[in-house]
């Protein structure tokens, strides 16, 4: 009995020693020192979102390596803190706290899904941590600490929906994932349909765990729309495209989620993705010079990651936002987060791969969102992707409808379309 107690005490003592060295390691580490900059990168490399999160991680490291090779930011080398959050929101919260409190990161990139962003945003806001959220999302986040630089649902759907109304007709059927992103995106379809003289003839929300689409396909056939808007999300939902093809459903489909993120046109057997139109700011196939030329973005990415399967939409967003951060730090002359935020609010722009030669995309000071160059890309029967339409679509929901101005007022809110549009209710 006494032996055992002694053992326990020894165990405690050794535990304390380990904890002590861990803390010592941290304070002795690079944390907040002057000669390096620490960037936190929390992107999923395993779990549910690994397929789409892994390219984000890789593209961030590409930008960082390029910057370091060119002499760093203001001569300071970038160090990376990048554990794998494993698509687990609880782990995200732990790692976010660790990144801020122990690693003392100067800036943080984190998270694939909106659920993840909302899980860590309270921690970000409590610590006033400078944070880049880079996934395309439902829109509406007006938060002084958050730079949501991916395209919003209004930008993405606003590129593809008007094009399809013009091409195919006015009857729209919506299928969307049954959580905040899908629900809010479906609301945006209604708002945009209204603005473009179209109408939504039916909608269905699909639980994320569902992978069988027999009844959904029948339902679409019964409604007989001119085109379908699909905001399905995740690996289970990807099965929809193969199943609708094998059921002979040939209606054109507009989407903000398929192809650009999970490269279904490369993974599925043709012609499952035929006549699917993606409204996105970036895909590997976007035909800009910066993207496709020798030594362009695509070349550089696959040179660093020869085994990577695809360069997806969010990877580009991570890439250019690291460069926007660099520009802001150089402008501010410091990594002090409040001063960098002010610099980011000074009208930063960058020649991102999504923008054609001679054009830059700009970060909107008032809303912390980006006025993206949006593309409509269509897959044909052999799954070749071609651009059928492109234009700059500014973020208008926060600027015009909500009136969010983070340069004048500090806010930490997410606005939804129901608050402002009758048809979204």
């Amino acid at each position: 009995m006494s032996d055992r107690r002694l053992g326990r005490r020894e165990f405690l003592a050794s535990g304390a020693a380990v904890a002590g060295t861990a803390i010592a390691g941290c304070t002795g580490g690079s944390g907040g020192s002057d000669d390096t900059i620490t960037i936190g990168v929390l992107e999923d490399r395993s779990g549910n979102f690994a397929l789409v999160g892994d390219p984000k991680h890789k593209a961030t490291l590409l930008a960082i390596e390029e910057i370091n090779e060119a002499g760093g930011i203001d001569g300071r080398e970038i160090e990376v803190f990048d554990p794998d959050p494993q698509s687990d929101n609880q782990r995200y919260q732990e790692l976010t706290r660790r990144a801020i409190n122990e690693e003392e990161v100067d800036v943080l990139w984190a998270g694939y899904s909106s659920a993840t962003r909302e899980a860590i945003r309270p921690i970000i806001d409590r610590e006033d941590q400078l944070y880049f959220y880079t996934t395309q999302y439902e829109g509406g986040v007006c938060d002084q600490n958050v730079f949501a630089v991916g395209p919003t649902a209004r930008q993405q759907l606003g590129s593809v929906l008007p094009y399809l109304v013009e091409e195919y007709g006015t009857d729209i059927y919506t299928i969307a994932a049954d959580y905040n992103f899908g629900q809010l995106s479906a609301d945006w379809v209604k708002v945009l349909a209204n603005e473009n003289g179209a109408n939504v003839v039916g909608e269905e929300f699909i639980p994320l765990s569902n992978s069988q689409f027999g009844s959904t396909i029948n339902r679409i056939q019964e409604a007989d729309p001119d085109f379908v808007m699909s905001m399905l999300v995740g690996a289970n939902h990807t099965s929809f495209y193969e199943q609708k093809a094998s059921a002979g459903l040939e209606v054109p489909i507009g989407t903000s989620t398929a192809m650009a993120q999970g490269y279904e046109h490369r993974r599925l057997d043709p012609p499952a993705m035929e006549n699917i139109y993606a409204g996105v700011n970036y895909m590997e196939e976007v035909p800009t010079t910066r993207n496709t030329e020798d030594g362009g973005f695509v070349d550089r990415y696959f040179e660093m990651w020869p085994d990577a399967p695809y360069l997806n939409e969010e990877a580009e967003t991570n890439y250019f936002s690291v460069y926007m951060y660099k520009e802001a730090v150089e402008q501010a002359g410091t990594t002090d987060q409040e001063e960098v935020k002010t610099a980011l609010e000074s009208g930063i722009s960058y020649p991102a791969p999504e923008a054609p030669e001679g054009e830059e995309i700009s970060l909107d000071p008032e809303t912390h969102h980006v006025d993206h160059h949006m593309w409509v890309l269509r897959a044909d029967g052999e799954h070749n992707v071609e651009a059928v339409d492109d234009r700059v679509i500014p973020e208008t929901f926060l600027t015009e409808t909500v009136g969010c101005d983070l340069t004048a007022e500090d806010e930490e809110t997410q606005y939804t379309p129901q608050d402002f549009f009758e048809e979204a209710g």
């Binding site: 639980p207 027999g214 009844s215 007989d224 690996a235 289970n236 193969e242 059921a247 490369r266």
Partner: protein, 312 residues
């Protein structure tokens, strides 16, 4: 607006999915008392082996499917020898330490759950590390059946026929073959069976491989219809466990009845209200069944029979 053909095809589709998802699980659970939480991953092994054999090796789809079944059977055999019965580690430890280190997991429900859950995590991450986040997918063969503005995938309707075939096969194997007799004897009373000369250890091994092979068959059959990601097995789990719970102790009859009941409920609600309510209806049915028929459909039938026998 109920379209009869839609409803029929959706029923066949759901029936096939539920029966095929549950078949392997029902055998491994019903006969060996092992709650196999890695069941989904056994399905994944079959699906991955089929896809790799078809896309990378270039075998024609039916041959690739047989390869998928074979691979998952061998895999099941390995799992049984190494983890479930612990025969291989025990043989090694007997030589090194002179004693066994592993108690077989048969009829240890909670322990088998933890062990197979761990196995499923290792398998998902192992496949992710080996083959990446996804595989290129096989297209669904056979085209569609079109009927007045609607259409349904021929392949998925045919799966209902395959599901019935699997049930018939399992029934035949367990009631008409020597192996089936030995297997049932082993379940009913292991020590008596052993005393009568049945090699129970071998029976367990064969049965586990048979169950794994059926899970692999499910994976092989659904490989051309679902996305090839390491976690694909998860989408079969809910249906599989609900069907086993609802079906009750009789493996073949229980799975068939559960497939019929749950398939029609799921098809009806999916058709009338939507996919989401189809799933809710499935789970509500499971709750109601657990409350009122805790032994499942076949357990209830068995009890009725006993009561009648006592009455007579």
């Amino acid at each position: 607006m109920v379209n009869g053909l839609n409803l029929l095809f959706q029923f066949l589709d759901s029936f096939a999915f539920i029966v095929l998802a549950a078949a392997g699980l029902a055998i491994i659970f019903g006969i060996m008392g092992v709650i196999n939480l890695a069941h989904g991953e056994f399905i994944m092994v079959g699906a991955y082996a089929t896809t790799l054999a078809n896309v990378r090796v270039g075998l024609p789809l039916p041959v690739a499917m047989l390869a998928g079944v074979a691979v998952s059977m061998v895999f099941g055999l390995l799992v049984e020898r190494l983890i479930i019965s612990g025969a291989v580690p025990n043989a090694l430890s007997r030589r090194a330490l002179g004693r066994d280190v592993i108690d077989p997991l048969y009829d240890r429900l909670a322990d088998s759950m933890v062990a197979t859950w761990g196995l499923s995590l290792i398998m998902i991450q192992g496949v992710r590390i080996t083959f990446g986040n996804s595989l290129d997918q096989i297209g669904t063969p056979l085209g569609e059946i079109a009927y007045g503005g609607f259409s349904y995938s021929t392949y998925r309707v045919l799966l209902a026929g395959v599901a019935v075939g699997v049930l018939v096969l399992a029934y035949y194997v367990f009631t008409r073959t020597d192996y089936g007799m030995r297997a049932r004897a082993t379940i009913q009373n292991e020590s008596t069976a052993k005393a009568l000369g049945v090699d129970t250890e071998r029976t367990y091994m064969t049965t586990f491989a048979f169950g794994s092979g059926l899970a692999g068959l499910t994976g092989a059959l659904y490989a051309p219809t679902i996305t090839m990601v390491p976690s694909l097995g998860g989408s079969f789990l809910v249906e599989a466990f609900v069907a086993v719970v609802v079906g009750g102790p009789s493996v073949v009859l229980g799975t068939a009845l559960a497939g019929g009941l749950l398939g029609s409920i799921n098809a009806l609600f999916s058709n009338l209200v939507g996919t989401f309510f189809g799933r809710i209806a499935l789970l509500v049915t499971a709750i109601v069944m657990l409350r009122f028929l805790p032994e499942g459909i076949t357990g209830y039938v068995e009890r009725l029979r006993e009561r009648r026998r006592e009455g007579a």
